[in-house]
């Protein structure tokens, strides 16, 4: 008996939806088994990681808070990934975006007007775009692989952050901790409706999901991006400029990461400190793939990954599993989704090696 992969004429719609769901379920099963093996209560740990954040009354806000930056960044990344442009340095663009927005706040003393917030957000988007412009320039001008250049710039961005919060922007009243002064109320984003638990970033994420859905499914631009990724020669023939796609997708993904960064700083932390770079930029890559590069999928995947963040902390306190397990769950999910990608593009045929079938197969291939 052998297993053979036969290429499908068109990607399977069913598999595109079924495989992410299966990946999450398989991750839960595997996680339970491994927790049992290393001496924890497996089912209990999985329940606390994946279910408690959804059913517990006060965990929803945490989930939405974590989901917002993941969704916003992953929407941008998905667009680039469709064109096979791999921006894996969103973490750096997220950091620089937040710093640029904070820089505007500190440059304008006594920013009390209503314009402080839009100015900071605009600077955040531009900061992320500027950081992504470096790899875009290097790729279109010198054909430098964006995979490595975007990643290297994450480490540069981390040092820029360390320098600014430990030096020029250090809070004079901060007991010598490396952190910026807190934003004033005029420089902060409150929750959308007073008294509700919906963080402002999540509203932005919902709006952007719709915008990206229109962009990818209803616009010529979305079509051109997909074509550049799927059939570069056809795209060139059709007049879609490859280097314009590089620039536009990196600008959009960089801007989204910068936006996520400044929103996080203005609405959650209220300042920028050493804990600000928390890996959302990397996790968003998982979100993008788990959501199969589709805006609606990305939205749902962002919620699922946010659940694992929150649930990881719950499981840590309740079942005492180490904190690092959330990262392993996320990587496992990505492994499963990438492994199952073959089911979207190929049909699996089990061939029995009965003599007659063998002869028929030989005849068919001859």
């Amino acid at each position: 008996m052998r297993i053979r992969f036969e290429k499908r004429l068109a990607p399977s719609r069913f598999m595109q939806v079924a495989t992410p769901i299966a990946s999450v379920l398989l991750t839960m099963l595997l996680g339970a088994a491994i927790f049992e093996l290393i001496g924890f209560d497996g089912p209990h740990a999985i329940y606390e990681t994946f279910i408690t954040p959804i059913v517990a009354p006060y965990k929803w806000q945490d989930v939405l808070t974590k989901a917002a930056p993941l969704i916003i960044i992953a929407l941008g990344l998905s667009l680039g990934n469709q064109a096979k442009i791999w921006n894996i340095g969103a973490e750096g663009q997220y950091i620089i975006g937040a710093l640029a927005g904070a820089g505007v706040a500190f440059a304008l003393p006594n920013a009390e007007g209503f314009w402080a917030i839009p100015l900071m957000i605009g600077a955040g988007i531009l900061g992320g775009m500027a950081w992504a412009a470096i790899p875009a320039f290097l790729k279109t001008r010198y054909s430098v692989s964006e995979v490595l250049s975007t990643l290297m710039l994450v480490y540069v961005a981390l040092q820029v952050l360390n320098y600014l919060i430990g030096g020029p922007w250090k809070d004079p009243n901060g007991h010598n901790f490396p952190q910026t002064p807190p934003f004033t109320p005029a420089e902060s984003l409150p929750n959308v409706l007073p008294g509700t638990v919906i963080p402002p970033g999540f509203v932005v994420a919902i709006v952007l999901t719709l915008v990206f859905w229109l962009l990818t499914t209803r616009s010529v631009y979305g079509f051109s991006v997909r074509t550049v990724g799927a059939a570069p020669n056809a795209a060139r023939y059709g007049g879609f400029d490859a280097s314009r796609t590089v620039w536009s997708t990196l600008m959009i993904s960089g801007g989204m990461a910068g936006l996520a960064g400044i929103l996080e700083a203005m609405s959650q932390l209220g300042q920028i400190n050493l804990g600000f770079p928390s890996g959302y930029g990397f996790t968003a890559i998982i979100v993008s793939f788990l959501g199969r590069l589709h805006p609606i999928g990305v939205f749902l995947a962002g919620l699922i990954l946010a659940v694992t963040y929150v649930g990881g902390q719950v499981a840590q306190t309740v079942v005492h599993v180490p904190n690092a397990t959330a990262g392993i769950f996320q990587a496992t999910m990505l492994f499963f989704i990438l492994a199952s990608d073959i089911l979207v593009r190929y049909r699996v045929r089990v061939i029995r090696d009965a003599p007659r079938a063998k002869a028929a197969a030989a005849g068919a291939s001859a």
């Binding site: 053979r4 992969f5 036969e6 290429k7 791999w86 894996i88 470096i134 290097l138 001008r141 010198y142 054909s143 430098v144 692989s145 995979v147 490595l148 250049s149 990643l151 290297m152 710039l153 480490y155 540069v156 981390l158 040092q159 820029v160 360390n162 320098y163 430990g166 030096g167 990397f282 890559i285 998982i286 793939f289 180490p322 904190n323 690092a324 397990t325 959330a326 990262g327 392993i328 996320q330 990587a331 496992t332 990505l334 492994f335 990438l338 492994a339 990608d341 073959i342």
Partner: protein, 313 residues
């Protein structure tokens, strides 16, 4: 600048260069076979915690052999983890960029999970094999004062250069990376060769990781490889996929990283220390631009790099 200072600096350069040289030598073979594995950083961390944990737990029973067993286990563990990547990208034809990244995220998580009980613990340094009168000599330590892994790294890059360019097996491996369909049609098993190359790359990354946890700072700290795996990946591009240039490039980056350590102590303190910490990464980007702008002169990039190969179709 006196002799002692120069020797001190040279010893530091060799120390920081060795892990990126080890990891890049492994990745060179992987990429020559036509596969790009972005999981180097993750495999290094798996190697780092494995080498550390084995030495820590079994060191007293193993005596003098403990660090050697630790390094071999580090190489094995990282090689095994690399086969997970191999299965996905080779057998299932998954996207190599995303799968490599998944391996790095997995390695960071797994090493933190295993290492949770070892944070801050120490093991004896995997020190020089030479007698003290040589290794401890204020001058001769520049040649004899290193961990065996330093000499291993130098031998490994030379052997890999010889293997790729002077042996039949190396020729086959390059053929697989250059034109997988032709290599397949004249009867070579493309996938088997790539599996082997990925395993070798994993083993070398594991040894590189062990160098962090057993030589540089013989203790465990989360994410102690601090992004050096990515420098190793840039180094392979920098080298134009040639072993000789890889060695030169590794020492170039090693000198840059040493500047960071010396900047504060010497006259460079007018620039913030973070500038020096970012320096290797800035230079990596600059160097990638220069190399790529100069075109393919002397570069031997494999033509099939990153492209999946599905033999059944």
């Amino acid at each position: 600048m006196n002799l002692a200072f120069i020797i001190d600096a040279l010893v530091t350069v060799v120390g920081v260069t060795t892990p990126i040289l080890l990891a890049a030598t492994g990745e060179l073979v992987v990429e020559k076979s036509g596969v790009i594995n972005l999981g180097v950083e993750g495999m290094m961390l798996i190697g780092a915690i494995t080498g550390f944990a084995i030495t820590f737990n079994y060191g007293p029973d193993l005596g003098d052999w403990a660090p050697w067993v630790g390094v071999v286990c580090a190489a094995l563990a990282a090689a095994i983890s690399s086969q997970l990547f191999g299965f996905l990208v080779l057998t299932l034809g998954s996207n190599q960029v995303a799968t490599g990244l998944a391996l790095t995220i997995f390695g960071i998580g797994l090493s933190s999970l295993i290492g949770a009980g070892y944070v801050g613990m120490t093991v004896p340094e995997f020190a020089t094999p030479f007698p003290d009168w040589l290794a401890g000599d204020p001058v001769w330590r520049v040649l004899f004062g290193y961990s065996p892994l330093v000499y291993f790294a130098l031998i490994a890059v030379l052997v890999v250069g010889w293997f790729l360019n002077r042996t039949r097996a190396g020729l086959v491996l390059r053929a697989v990376g250059e034109n997988d369909i032709s290599a397949h049609s004249i009867g070579y098993s493309v996938l088997a060769i790539r599996y082997a190359a990925i395993a070798f790359g994993g083993a070398m990354a594991g040894v590189a990781g062990a160098y962090f946890s057993m030589v540089i700072t013989p203790m465990w700290a989360e994410q102690m490889t601090a992004g050096r795996g990515w420098i190793a990946l840039a180094l392979v591009v920098f080298s134009g996929w040639r072993a000789g240039r890889l060695l030169v490039g590794a020492y170039f980056f090693g000198i840059l990283m040493t500047l960071e350590l010396y900047a504060k102590a010497s006259g460079f303190s007018f620039l913030p220390s973070q500038f020096w910490a970012a320096m290797p990464y800035i230079m990596a980007v600059v160097v990638l631009a220069v190399i790529s702008a100069r075109g393919v002169a002397g570069s031997e990039a494999p033509a099939c790099l990153g492209r999946p190969f599905m033999p059944s179709n």
